[in-house]
């Protein structure tokens, strides 16, 4: 391991991970008497001071309900909420703020499309195409609506390395296909799927595409217009923002055609007991008081990442991934799961003779937080023929020294189990 550890990290102009770490108060602590090494970023990321301050400032100074009051605080809260929408719009290069719908999380965004699109566009014999590496959140909503409508799911297979089999994908697209819904960056394998190419393929068949960008939005630049995505979903809490806020991007034309998701306040234009007319986009899909502070916090997170530069983040994480891949490969009996040529930020692995749960407990006592289990992707685990993996996942504040700490902890696992 010493040879790997002695490789000096290349200096990168403008990206100082030491300084960045100081922006994250939670990272300063020790756990079980060891410095915290947080490598569970695919589950959720930690929050920079800028996000915590924005939440505090919103509740301390601006809090009111949005879109209704004529009083000053309501105007300020509405302004903050709509400014957050504009920040998200610019972040993913959407054409209009009408295309940015705030949800609770990515799961709710997928469910919104599954229910509204599914209710109006799916019928008996129709098909929805997903992939073998989907998170449960991009499987179950489609299963539910398919069951209701007599439609069925078709699944793009993967290679043993964890890449989608694109020839099979093209073969699945046919006259019965109504929608393709695939993950941009796999939470288990780290695979980056060729979203732009896959969308173009689907569009040649006249099929719209939803991209689940839950793991992608904080690791790489996302441009929904360049992708030509019809729907793109992601969540705030993996993007250094608060929990309880997510985003559905949808092309305006498509969103216009879809019926509302939930009924209630804010999503209506006028209500009588005879008939209700619905509000304009995006409010048609935002029933009830939204997570205003969450949106404000998400915007602060987006501003934080944007100020650092997504290009610099991607480059830093790519360096860490390469370093981590080499370092983990040197641990005796360790096998990396997910070795597709295009991948980012995720190091899933298994170890001979040691269950991932035991790995997780032992490295935790060394201060290292990783995730173990099926990662909400049971069909993928079945495809790989394993019950679970251990997963280290990276964020912009991680360092090579933290990878070294993980590797040292894994040697302790070996020590205990042999």
């Amino acid at each position: 391991m010493t040879s790997i550890a002695s490789i000096a990290a290349p200096p990168r102009a403008g990206f100082d991970v030491r300084r960045i770490r100081e922006d994250f108060p939670i990272l300063r602590q020790t756990v079980h008497g060891k410095p915290l090494v947080y490598l569970d970023n695919a589950a959720t990321t930690q929050k920079p001071r800028a996000v915590l301050d924005a939440l505090m400032a919103y509740y301390s100074e601006d809090n009111a309900n949005v879109h209704r009051g004529v009083h000053l605080l309501s105007e300020r809260a509405t302004q903050a909420f709509e400014d957050a929408r504009a920040t998200v719009q610019r972040f993913i290069n959407a054409a209009s703020t009408r295309e940015i719908v705030f949800t609770r999380n990515a799961t709710e965004a997928v469910n919104l499309v599954a229910q509204t699109f599914g209710r109006t566009r799916l019928g008996p014999g129709d098909e929805v195409v997903i992939s073998a590496m989907e998170h449960h959140s991009n499987i179950v909503p489609w299963q539910m609506v398919c069951e209701d409508k007599g439609a069925s799911l078709r699944v793009i297979p993967i290679t043993d390395e964890g890449a989608l089999q694109l020839e099979e994908y093209e073969r699945l697209l046919g006259s019965h296909t109504r929608l393709v819904s695939i993950v941009h960056l796999s939470n288990v394998l780290g695979t980056i799927n060729p979203a732009q190419q896959m969308i173009a393929t689907a569009h040649r068949h006249g099929v719209p595409v939803l991209i689940d960008g839950s793991q992608a939005a904080h690791h790489m630049t996302v441009d929904v217009q360049a992708l030509d995505a019809d729907f793109y979903v992601f969540t705030g809490h993996k993007l250094y923002g608060p929990t309880g806020i997510g985003v559905l991007y949808g092309k305006e034309r498509l969103l216009e055609e879809l019926p509302p998701y939930q009924g209630g306040g804010d999503m209506i234009k006028s209500v009588t007991f005879e008939k209700t007319t619905y509000n304009a986009l995006p409010y048609k899909f935002e029933a009830g008081t939204p997570n205003i502070a969450g949106a404000v916090g998400l915007a602060a997170a987006v501003d934080y990442v944007t100020a650092i530069g997504m290009g610099a983040v991607t480059a830093h994480e790519r360096d860490l991934l390469a370093y981590g891949t080499a370092a983990l490969s040197g641990v005796p009996g360790l096998t990396l799961i997910g070795t597709a040529p295009e991948k980012a930020s995720v190091l899933s692995f298994v170890m001979d003779g040691v269950h991932p749960h035991d790995i997780g407990t032992i490295v935790d006592r060394e201060g290292v937080a990783i995730r173990t289990g099926h990662h909400c992707a049971q069909p993928l685990m079945q495809r790989l023929g394993i019950a679970a993996t251990a997963r280290a996942s990276l964020a912009l504040y991680n360092t090579r020294e933290e990878i070294d700490a993980l590797v040292a902890a894994l040697h302790k696992v070996r020590e205990l189990f042999t």
Binding site: G353, H357, D358, T361, M381, A387, A388, E415, F417
Partner: protein
């Protein structure tokens, strides 16, 4: 490492490496499936019960060291016990790993199983240790029936 040894005691590591009773029982008349949806661990438990006494016990499946060792030691310890005694052992074991009882108050009741006491300090692992025991309780409470391989 010292506090980890409290959880991963030598006897637990030994049962993980060489699980006892890791087989199906020909002619088992109680069978239950245990499943931990959190980690995907699965366990099949087989009992042979004759006149209210467990004359043989075995298991198959996959799981972490704690769950495998727990199943291994449990199947060893319930052999020769009546169904009621097995129910009582479930209660005692469960109380011990959830930290609701002091095993040292009645060390004779759980015997060797007291090595799982350290689990109470690892709340995320309590389900690993108790999976086999929950499965046992469901097998003990089930109606007598011959396990059919067709039903698998």
């Amino acid at each position: 490492m010292s506090d980890l040894r409290e959880l991963y005691q030598e006897v637990i590591l030994d049962h993980n490496r060489r699980p006892r009773n890791f087989r199906a029982i020909e002619g088992a008349n109680r069978h239950a499936e245990g499943y931990n949806p959190l980690c995907g661990d699965r366990l099949s438990l087989y009992l042979k019960v004759e006149e209210g006494v467990i004359t043989d016990a075995s298991f198959q499946g996959s799981g972490c060291a704690i769950s495998k060792a727990s199943a291994s030691m449990m199947t060893d310890s319930v052999k020769g016990k009546t169904l009621n005694e097995a129910r009582g052992m479930f209660e005692q074991f469960h109380q011990m790993v959830t930290g609701n009882a002091d095993p040292l108050a009645h060390p004779e009741r759980l015997g060797k199983l007291a090595v799982f006491e350290g689990v109470r300090n690892y709340p995320a692992r309590v389900k690993c240790a108790s999976l086999a025991w929950h499965t046992l309780r469901s097998a003990v409470d089930a109606k007598d029936e011959v396990v059919s391989t067709e039903a698998e």
